[in-house]
């Protein structure tokens, strides 16, 4: 196994070497029992330089960013930041497990939606999914599913058919362009 | 001064340090092989309490481009309180120098403990770079001509 030390900056300003594998992150994680590898094992992989291996784990997509791990870590490791960085890596390198690809697609669609509207347009987000043909096996965010299945929501005035949009959507577009642009530069440097 | 002269300039830096903290911090930097520029001349004194303002003036008179004064952190003084006394004097002295228009970028005070070899090396590297950028302390040299 190739072991490469990983620069601390890659993992969002938190020094991964600080992790001493006590497992308190795993102990407090509400999803740990359903993960293919536990949070501390994920961080161990990163310590070993096995970033791609870590990014291929389904566990990173189970993380709900509840920050219990970060909050209790005795070494003040920014656990969620590491997982975010892994997710970012997975999205960039297209290495999420096949059954979880659609999560990335959903998140991309989510961002795309913000890019176009400045704010989340719930209906449009769902329509996008439909047209892209992802709906057949998709358990959409429960919120969305319920929105489609439960007219009760509409009864309660909780669902707008015409969602609002930001006014200066061109600016939002420019922000996105710069961020993705900046990001590409960052990745190559 | 031209750019080439500026880069070729190597400042003279005098570091007045206490025997128990910063001198040992510098020793630790050595033990840990932490590299830093060779411009600094360490003058070992028992305590920052010993470091009188006229030693600082004297150093400039002797052609120093920068003076460093460093000792134990508050509470850690080998002699209990020498650094507290020193701190008071420096506070006042700095204000005097400021009134006189003497460049405060030429004098640096630090607390560096015997355990802070890394801080010592980083500190010296940083102020040496700064001294290089500032160039020779022409203003004081003119006074001393």
């Amino acid at each position: 196994m190739e072991v490469t030390p990983v620069g601390a900056d890659k993992f969002a300003g938190t020094s991964i070497e600080n992790c001493y594998q006590c497992g308190k992150c795993t102990a407090g994680c509400p999803l740990a029992d359903q993960m293919d590898v536990t949070p501390n094992q994920l961080f161990r992989l990163v310590q070993l330089g096995e970033v791609e291996k870590a990014a291929r784990c389904g566990a990173i997509w189970l993380c709900v960013s509840c920050f219990t791990c970060t909050g209790r870590c005795p070494q003040s490791v920014e656990c969620v930041e590491i997982i975010d960085a892994l997710r970012e890596y997975a999205a960039e390198h297209d290495c999420a497990p096949p059954d979880l690809q659609r999560i990335i697609l959903f998140q991309k669609a989510f961002l795309d939606n913000i890019r176009r509207n400045g704010r989340i347009n719930e209906l449009e987000l769902i329509r996008d999914f439909k047209t892209k043909g992802f709906l057949q096996d998709l358990s959409l965010p429960l919120l969305m599913k319920d929105a489609l299945l439960a007219p009760k929501l509409m009864q309660r005035g909780k669902f707008h058919l015409t969602s609002e949009k930001a006014k200066d959507r061109e600016l939002v577009g420019r922000i996105f362009a710069r961020c993705t642009g900046t990001h590409a530069e960052g990745a190559t440097s | 001064m031209s750019e080439t002269e500026k880069t070729a300039f190597e400042p003279k830096i005098v570091a007045y340090v206490c025997n128990w903290c910063t001198y040992l911090g510098a020793d630790l930097a050595g033990t840990n092989r932490l590299e830093y520029p060779s411009n600094v001349r360490i003058v070992r004194l028992p305590c920052t309490g010993r470091i009188d303002f006229n030693l600082i003036i004297k150093a400039f008179e002797m052609g120093a481009d920068m003076v460093v004064v460093s000792g134990c952190h508050p509470g850690d003084c080998h002699y209990t309180a020498g650094n507290y006394h020193a701190r008071r004097r420096w506070t006042l002295f700095r204000d005097l120098l400021e009134t006189m228009g003497i460049d405060l970028n030429r004098i640096h005070f630090a607390w560096i403990s015997a355990a802070e070899g890394k801080k010592f090396a980083e500190f010296i590297t940083e102020i040496t770079d700064k001294a290089r950028q500032l160039g020779p302390y022409q203003a004081y040299r003119e006074i001393c001509e």
């Binding site: 795993t26 005795p74 | 060779s38 309490g49 003084c77």
Partner: protein, 665 residues
């Protein structure tokens, strides 16, 4: 022209690799005043020193510059060499061309140039050096030991047995310390009190030991060889000379609501109480915060039942002074509390463990009392909330230890061992119970230690899980412990009846204040600093003050005792002489010049400068002056800096010497 010899050391390759020693030697020879310069592979070696000695004699040298390592490393060595060759040892200077040069610079050219300059500075200084004589200080062969736990007891007995008087000060009502409250000790499981109490009795009865219990150190003046120690004897309300320790008073005392601190709050005690049954001295003390008589003037039962008439409600704190020559600090430790209230802002407590609000979450010392035959349950393991025998106990290691976020970053060293012991004690008493241990690493590096831990796991069936506990909650009378087993990679949840926390060892309360009084350094946690971690492990940088036991860092009993004997040994080494010598690099005042403004007197951290009068032969006052007491001056030089007329100066770091150095920039 001065006759200075310069000796340039290669330090094997350490210096020579980076500094062109040959070239430096040639350049240094050109410095005015330098008689010769010579280089050698190992200047500190025997042949190196011989060379130095020979050269001093052959060249009639007036001063030496040794260009080698840090003066903190070898100044003593070369001063001794100079002395052996008849040269005053204070005519030796060192140029630190290793730590400050060859080790921190890569460029050979630059390093060589710097080495030459450092030597030039040192030559400048040595030319201004003056021969000095070591200061002789008389010595009081009497020792103060602060803290009477197992370390303090050991040190006291050792010094006393060597024939010297010992003043032993303990702030609790009895000697014995933490060890007196322990159940059985690892790795032999021998009863703590069985081994300690005879030593306590011996201490109490030793003719050379003067015992001050229920007393604290107020201040320490003077210096090595001659300390004056002021001790506060707290009001005990008992006339120790009359009391027989019969027990009538505490048996009859109606106030029984105070938490017993000897049992860490697991039991109650009376307002007048004996610290614990084997207490030395076996005399009670009245808790003034609990006693009705002292609070309201009513009651007075204890005085009524005391046949000896030993109760004295009018007792006051008493201040006494003692003269000693050496001090041993053995103030021990306390445990990190997981509560929200902390005495150090760096510590936060454990909210995820409920900040200690669950009564059945206890700490290790409480468990010691629970399993001790003399403890509140008579040695039966019963949980505090309802007295039930816990069928499932979770032990958590590293609580507060190795936890920079909430506690301390160091390892408390003994918890692995006592946790293993606790599981055994528990299993030996509750056969059907299960002990679960959550640990990060098992540190069992002592003699027979690892075997002991293995025994807990293999023979006594303790279940060990490698992982830290994330949360403890209480549900339906059970403590829900949520953790992970990092080896299996699975979360683990255990329903426990009781949880025992192996809390971090912290220096005992007030240790840093005491350290300040003694001018002893301490680390960020408040553990006292030794002078050198390897070579001077029980000395401190405050001459004549020694440390032992857990005030210095986490330690188990064997280590604390060994260190106590070492400290006692150091005291005896000191007491083997009839007078002390001190470094003469101290301040002096030109009394003729002194304007007697006394800025130095105000400033001196050691009160070593006094206002003095100069009188002529007829006894007429000529002038006032400041005067240094060489016995007290420690040589910090702060007086030099505040003296406007520079009438104060300091040998070894004089104005002349420093000027001469920087003149050579």
């Amino acid at each position: 022209m001065a006759r200075i010899g310069v000796f340039i050391c290669w330090c094997g390759e350490n210096i020579a690799r980076t500094v062109d020693v040959k070239r430096a030697t040639e350049e240094v020879e050109q410095i005015p005043g330098v008689r010769f310069a010579i280089d050698y592979k190992y200047m500190c070696s025997d042949p190196g020193q011989t060379m130095v000695r020979d050269k001093i004699i052959a060249e009639r040298l007036q001063g030496l510059v040794i260009a080698s390592c840090s003066p903190h490393m070898h100044m003593k060595t070369f001063r001794a060499a100079a002395k052996a060759a008849g040269l005053n040892p204070y005519l030796v200077e060192m140029a630190n061309i290793r730590e400050h040069c060859s080790w921190v610079h890569q460029n050979r050219e630059e390093a060589t140039a710097k080495a030459v300059e450092l030597i030039r500075l040192a030559v400048g200084k040595v030319i201004q050096d003056k021969p000095l004589d070591a200061i002789k200080v008389p010595l009081t062969k009497r020792a103060l030991v602060i803290g009477a736990g197992v370390a303090g007891i050991q040190a006291s007995l050792d010094i006393a047995e060597a024939g010297h008087e010992v003043v032993l000060v303990e702030r609790e009502p009895s000697i014995g310390g933490k060890m007196a409250g322990l159940s059985e000790t690892f790795p032999t499981l021998d009863c703590s009190q069985c081994i300690l109490t005879p030593r306590m009795v011996e201490t109490g009865q030793h003719p050379n030991i003067k015992l001050y219990t229920w007393s604290e150190i107020e201040s320490v003046d003077g210096s090595v060889g001659n300390f004056t120690v002021t001790i506060r004897k707290k009001a005990r309300y008992i006339d120790m000379s009359k009391c027989t320790g019969c027990g009538e008073c505490w048996n009859k005392c109606p106030m029984s609501k105070t938490l017993n601190d000897f049992d860490y709050g697991l039991s109650k005690r009376k307002a007048i109480y004996l610290a614990f049954p084997q207490a030395v001295p076996a005399r009670p003390v009245i808790d003034k915060n609990a006693c009705t008589k002292l609070k309201t003037g009513k009651c007075g039962i204890c005085a009524k039942v005391c046949a000896a008439g030993a109760i004295n409600y009018e007792d006051q704190d008493e201040i006494v002074t003692e003269q000693v020559g050496a001090i041993v600090v053995a103030t021990g430790y306390k445990l990190y509390s997981i509560g929200q209230e902390q005495d150090n802002e760096k510590y936060t407590g454990y909210g995820e463990y409920g900040y200690g609000k669950y009564p059945d979450v206890i700490d290790a010392l409480q468990f010691e009392r629970l399993s001790s035959a003399s403890g509140p349950t008579g040695g039966e393991i019963r949980r505090p909330s309802d007295g039930a025998v816990p069928k499932s106990v979770v032990f958590i290691a590293c609580v507060g230890s190795r936890d920079p976020a909430k506690g301390v970053s160091y390892c408390s060293k003994i918890c692995c061992m006592y946790t293993a012991k606790h599981t055994m004690l528990y299993k030996h008493k509750v056969h059907e119970g299960t002990a679960h241990v959550f640990y990060m690493d098992i540190r069992a590096g002592g003699k027979n230690y690892d075997e002991f831990v293995r025994r807990a796991i293999e023979k006594d069936g303790a279940k060990y899980y490698r992982g830290r506990v994330s949360k403890i909650t209480e549900e339906n009378g059970k403590l829900i412990v949520r953790a992970a087993d990092t080896l299996a990679g699975v979360p683990v949840t255990i329903e426990a009846d009781m949880v025992v926390l192996a809390s971090a060892m912290l220096p005992s309360t007030g240790a840093t204040e005491l350290a300040q009084k003694l001018k002893v350094g301490y680390d960020e946690y408040g553990f006292l600093s030794e002078s050198h971690p390897k070579l001077r492990p029980v000395e401190t940088n405050s001459a004549g003050v020694f440390i032992c036991g857990a005030c210095h860092g986490p330690k188990d009993i064997p280590e604390a005792v060994a260190q106590a004997s070492a400290a006692a040994g150091k005291v005896q080494v000191m007491f083997a002489r009839n007078e002390l010598t001190r470094d003469p690099e101290i301040a002096k005042i030109n009394e003729q010049n002194c304007a007697a403004c006394y800025a130095c007197v105000r400033t001196c951290p050691y009160n070593a400068i006094e206002k003095a009068e100069i009188r002529d032969r007829q006894g007429n006052l000529v002038k006032m002056t400041a005067r240094v007491n060489p016995g007290l001056c420690m040589g910090c030089g702060t007086c030099v800096a505040v003296c406007p007329s520079k009438s104060a100066d300091i040998d070894g770091f004089s104005e002349s010497q420093i000027y001469e150095m920087i003149k050579n920039l």
